[in-house]
């Protein structure tokens, strides 16, 4: 609870991820304010899990997320445009394999 007195006027922002079913990936549900991690978890439960949305919640303080910027779009994503062979759909499945599945 050492972080609880850090923010006198405004609680820090947290990102919430909920897992719809076990085995599925956690998905971003939204964000909220909370004084610390335990309260963030509880607020997430009240804000994003009231309607049976999931089986697990992650919260992470928003400041800990490193995100790409719009400037990164070119170098990050464009090179993939002309490489359709990186998608599994690019390859046709041999008939023998299809039969088995």
């Amino acid at each position: 609870m050492s972080d609880k007195n850090e923010h006198k006027d405004n609680w820090p922002l947290w990102e919430v991820f909920t897992q719809p079913k076990s085995g599925k990936p956690h998905e971003h549900a939204g964000s909220l304010h909370a004084s610390d991690k335990e309260m963030a978890l509880q607020n997430a439960r009240d804000t994003y899990a009231r309607r049976n949305e999931g089986v697990s919640i992650w919260v992470v303080e928003s400041k800990h997320i490193t995100a790409s910027t719009p400037d990164d779009m070119g170098p990050f994503f464009d090179p993939a445009n002309d490489k359709p062979y990186r998608h599994p759909q690019f390859y046709s499945v041999p008939r023998a394999v299809k039969k088995r599945s």
């Binding site: 609870m1 609880k4 007195n5 609680w11 909220l32 304010h33 909370a34 004084s35 610390d36 335990e38 309260m39 509880q42 607020n43 439960r45 009240d46 804000t47 009231r50």
Partner: protein
């Protein structure tokens, strides 16, 4: 008031027993609902409204069952809207004005700590419909306890101001705790029937949880042997209940035949 010349029947006792549980929850739910739109932060506003709705939901289910037991053609709305303050048997603890955020949290923690152990015992009741309801509501009570306890720790061990204010709240609330463990002929008869519980069997657990939490929150534990209020289980209330009921009941009483359609 007439004295107990007539023997209490099992049916009457069961009805009273359920109404006491239901009234606690309806009145506290109504009080907490006053925070809706006024919470210290949006997220806490939601949390309090959520707890409030849970409590009113528990009360509704209990009133429905009470109507069934009473068997006089009443429904849950009758118990909530058409009884007067002397008919309500909720704890005085539940009807006290909401105070500041710390007061609401302190009260919720005390009530949830008691409810938790009470429901842990009640879930063994020898009545399937009743114990089923108790089991279902227990999950939400555990959450109320967790949420309010975490807040007590933060306010108690928080700033100088939050510490002082929640300490004052506990000091003020303390004299309403004696009633938590009150028992009379209704409880005795229900214990005999295998439904009721003996509050002395879990009193120490409740006290320990409260004491431990206050100590962890760096707060003083007020004296358990101090003067305690009494009377609510017989319909004796503080001056605050009438005002709460007036606000809660007036619309329904103005339109007694209105329906949600």
């Amino acid at each position: 008031m007439s004295t107990a010349t007539k023997e209490l029947t099992t049916k009457e006792a069961f009805l009273k027993y359920i109404l006491r549980l239901a009234d606690d929850r309806l009145i506290l739910g109504q009080r907490n609902a006053e925070w809706c739109g006024h919470g210290p932060q949006l997220e806490e506003d939601l949390a309090l409204a959520n707890i409030s709705l849970d409590l009113i939901g528990h009360a509704t289910a209990l009133y429905e069952y009470a109507a069934e037991i009473e068997d006089e053609g009443h429904d849950e709305d009758y118990f909530a809207y058409f009884r007067d303050d002397r008919d309500f048997t909720n704890l005085q603890l539940c009807e006290l004005p909401k105070g500041d955020f710390g007061f609401t949290i302190a009260r919720q923690f005390l009530f949830s700590a008691f409810s938790y152990f009470q429901y842990e015992k009640l879930k063994e009741a020898d009545d399937e419909q009743f114990s089923g309801m108790i089991n279902k509501h227990l999950k939400e009570i555990k959450y109320h306890l967790r949420h309010s306890r975490e807040w007590v720790l933060r306010l108690g061990d928080g700033t100088e101001e939050s510490h002082e204010r929640i300490q004052e709240s506990f000091d003020e609330l303390w004299m309403y705790l004696g009633e938590l463990f009150y028992m009379d002929e209704v409880d005795e008869l229900m214990i005999k029937e295998g439904i009721g519980i003996d509050s002395s069997t879990f009193k120490d657990d409740v006290k320990k949880l409260i004491d431990d939490t206050l100590i962890e929150a760096t707060l003083n534990v007020p004296d358990w042997d101090q003067f305690m209020m009494s009377g609510s289980r017989k319909g004796i209330h503080t001056e605050h209940l009438g005002h709460l009921l007036a606000q809660m009941q007036f619309l329904r009483r103005s339109h007694p035949k209105a329906e949600w359609k």
